[in-house]
């Protein structure tokens, strides 16, 4: 019960803390808000093409029966850990792309609902890490740093550990 309340309290209390801080600092609060909200709008517009591309691909993958085949192929390995087979596609997509895993999360919510066991586990997996390959390619690509092999290796092990932890907790 307490743990559930921390989650519910977090967002409103964060807003209030920030606003109290802002009133003290005497900035123009509303101007800042409008400026930031505009940036948020631009951000939404900029991710729209990727979301359309990926959600359409995931839907096609699902409707054509390809998703089922992948799940069936991988299920024997994952069922040993009692890992729900519905989350397998998310597990594959998560390290590769954030938008891609959001597309899969969307399809999981659509089929099983966000408050089901599968929905909750998927929410946790999807919210608790960033796309590993994307981060490495953005940051290391920007400065032409090539020794990324061990970083990816460590990151994937950490990802597996975090998923096992989530599974254990749910």
């Amino acid at each position: 019960m307490i743990i559930e309340n921390i989650g519910t309290f977090s967002a409103p209390s964060l807003i209030v803390i920030i606003l109290i801080f802002a009133i003290k600092s005497k900035i123009n609060i509303f101007d800042s808000f409008i400026k930031g909200a505009k940036e948020g709008l631009e951000c939404m517009i900029s991710i729209l093409p990727a979301i359309i591309a990926l959600i359409t691909a995931v839907t096609m993958f699902k409707f054509s029966g390809a998703l089922e085949i992948i799940i069936k192929l991988l299920n024997p390995i994952f069922s040993l850990l009692k890992f729900p087979k519905e989350c397998i596609p998310l597990l594959i997509m998560k390290p590769i792309s954030g938008s891609g895993s959001n597309a899969i999360l969307n399809s999981i919510f659509e089929s099983y609902g966000p408050d089901s066991y599968v929905g909750k586990l998927s929410s946790i997996i999807s919210g608790s890490s960033e796309a590993i390959f994307y981060i490495v390619s953005t940051y290391c690509g920007a400065i032409k740093f090539k020794e990324t092999k061990n970083i990816i290796f460590f990151a994937l092990i950490s990802f597996i550990a975090s998923v096992l932890f989530a599974l254990f907790m749910c």
């Binding site: 743990i3 559930e4 921390i6 989650g7 519910t8 964060l14 920030i18 802002a22 003290k24 900035i27 609060i29 800042s32 808000f33 930031g36 909200a37 940036e39 948020g40 939404m44 979301i51 990926l54 959600i55 359409t56 691909a57 839907t59 096609m60 993958f61 409707f63 054509s64 029966g65 792309s97 891609g100 959001n102 969307n106 919510f109 609902g113 966000p114 408050d115 929905g119 929410s123 946790i124 997996i125 919210g127 608790s128 890490s129 960033e130 994307y134 981060i135 390619s137 940051y139 290391c140 400065i143 740093f145 092999k149 061990n150 290796f153 460590f154 092990i157 950490s158 550990a161 932890f165």
Partner: protein, 192 residues
């Protein structure tokens, strides 16, 4: 990489549809997928735009700056050979706090800046891994998109998963840092 995955997904859907005789469904999927994407953007953008506004207030009022100061002792442990090198530590701080606050617009430029400074001082080898693991662990106080998506599918308690999610992020971060500290660079090349 995502480009290839995307193309392979669509191509393999086509072949599966041929085998399963589901070409009609595949055609519908194109329409339904695009439709859903627009719906998701519409359903979640209100929350995201609102939070971007709030987070801008946090930035402008110096709230993020104040939080960064609290982080310095932790950074001293994580990046021991960067002590007092503010040109590296400052962007790392901004990057980490921006990530926690969900300001990905601010996180990426400062993250790249931190990587550049590390490169200049020849400290990439030991520190890049820790820094990137910090970025990947994605500890977020208010993961707006996730919460808004849960809400849009009718969740009664969209925020409920947050504490478990934070704990999972921390497990990711600690496992990564532990691995890096245990295997110093020379040994890793043999394993990976």
């Amino acid at each position: 990489m995502i480009g290839k995955v995307w193309a392979i997904m669509i191509a393999s859907s086509f072949f599966c549809a041929v085998i399963n005789n589901k070409m009609n469904e595949l055609g519908n999927a194109i329409l339904e997928g695009t439709d859903q994407a627009i719906n998701i953007i519409l359903m979640t953008s209100g929350a995201i735009i609102f939070w971007s506004g709030i987070m801008k207030i946090a930035q402008d009022s110096g709230f993020t700056g104040a939080i960064s100061k609290l982080l310095f002792p932790i950074l001293r442990v994580l990046f021991p050979n960067c002590a007092k090198k503010w040109n590296i530590l400052n962007p790392i701080c901004i990057n980490f706090v921006s990530n926690i606050m969900g300001l990905s617009n601010a996180a990426t430029p400062s993250g790249i800046k931190a990587m550049q400074e590390m490169k200049k001082e020849n400290l990439l080898k030991t520190n890049a891994a820790v820094f990137l693991i910090m970025n990947m662990s994605c500890i977020q106080i208010a993961p707006t998109f996730l919460v808004a998506l849960r809400k849009s599918f009718g969740s009664n308690t969209p925020y409920e998963i947050l504490p478990k999610m934070w704990a999972t992020s921390i497990v990711f971060l600690l496992t990564g840092i532990l691995l890096i500290k245990i295997f110093k660079n020379e040994k890793i090349d043999k394993i990976a």
